[in-house]
Assembly symmetry: C2
């Protein structure tokens, strides 16, 4: 399945330019997978197979965080985007092994196994995200948007969303629900593995799903 991400990296230091340029080297092993990598003053877009997006962003983030500087990455992730006229790069496509819509219990088990298998990276990360299931069948509230509320009751195909919420809460990195977003914290390896599963494992094959994701390391707020 194809998709993409608009990625920004914010190092809270005077030396943010060299820190960004050094960290971006972590994307080198992934460049072969992406059909488009383009940077402007706001973000870098990565377009390509969805399974490479969050691993690439994880490595970028961990490279920057290893400096010890307070760094934040923000990512707008999308898969199954219907795209613009004549624009085929984010059209839904099939890929084996991911996003198979099975029963919720099997889906959760497979997602949890993927997180359990993810190696620890020795870097703490705090993350928050809003999950937006778009399109006619998967609409209204998701995990990051109060998925347990009234909205869910009036919509179809919410089983996968509820399964996703169940998975997040038992993933080992769930911290709390906040307004509009869900907060995770823990080792960056487990946090990104959980986000990867949320992005790819739940929702129908080819469904249009978007994530508004923020990940932070080395915040002085956590050292108080």
């Amino acid at each position: 399945m194809s998709g993409g991400a608009q990625v920004s990296l914010y190092p809270m230091t005077d030396a943010f330019v060299p820190l960004i340029l050094n960290s971006v080297k972590a994307l080198d092993p992934y460049r072969q997978y992406f059909s488009k990598i383009e940077t402007d003053d706001l973000s870098t877009v990565l377009i390509g197979p969805t399974e490479h997006l969050l691993p690439a962003i994880r490595d970028l983030f961990v490279a920057a965080a290893s400096s010890g500087v307070h760094v934040v990455t923000h990512v707008t992730l999308s898969r199954g985007c219907p795209g613009m006229p004549g624009y085929t790069q984010c059209e839904p496509s099939s890929a084996p092994g991911q996003n198979q819509s099975t029963t919720s219990e099997e889906t959760i088990k497979a997602a949890q196994k993927a997180v359990d298998d993810a190696p620890l990276l020795g870097q703490h990360a705090s993350a928050q995200f809003a999950y937006y299931p778009l399109g006619n069948d998967l609409t209204s509230t998701g995990a990051g948007e109060g998925g347990e509320g009234e909205g869910g009751k009036t919509n179809k195909h919410m089983d996968e969303i509820y399964a996703c919420i169940g998975f997040i809460k038992s993933s080992g990195v769930f911290e709390k629900e906040k307004n509009f977003v869900t907060k995770l914290s823990g080792d960056a390896g487990k946090v990104f593995a959980t986000l990867h599963e949320v992005f790819l494992r739940f929702g129908k094959e080819g469904a249009h799903v978007a994530l508004d994701l923020t990940v932070s390391a080395n915040s002085p707020s956590l050292k108080k």
Copy 2:
């Protein structure tokens, strides 16, 4: 109408803590309007009447940007959120003068007038946003998610979305469509006025709408 925002401010300087603490004073005149202001290591949530959200965030951003430091604010905005059980703070409610669903032409004219009337602030801003219309009636792609594509053709109630796209393109601060997001640039007063109209003027009264918004100032990428 009630809604809220998760707001983060990223100053790219070693002295990011005092810069944030100083900038947050710009929120003081707005504190009376919000029923909840709560900060953790990732963001500050503002819950309250939607018409105060983007003006408050604009003043916070301009205060930080006036330092000359490269600063970025990221905001997850939501209105009409169905909320979680027992949680009433982001339930839809009526407010006069905003979000009247009229004909598209009238809506665009009113939105454009609001932008024309917005004062210049003498601070350049680059912004990008993804617009997510959620719920059963306003689904799939919006302005930031390829609103002119196939998704739109299969969904109802897209007239307001197309009107919104028309407004953005003629707002005076439209820069370009990017993958998944729309980019604006210009004086911060006009950029935030445009975002305010996008957030509140379009979509049905009480519709669940979310924005994933990034605004940047003083980027060295623009000085090259």
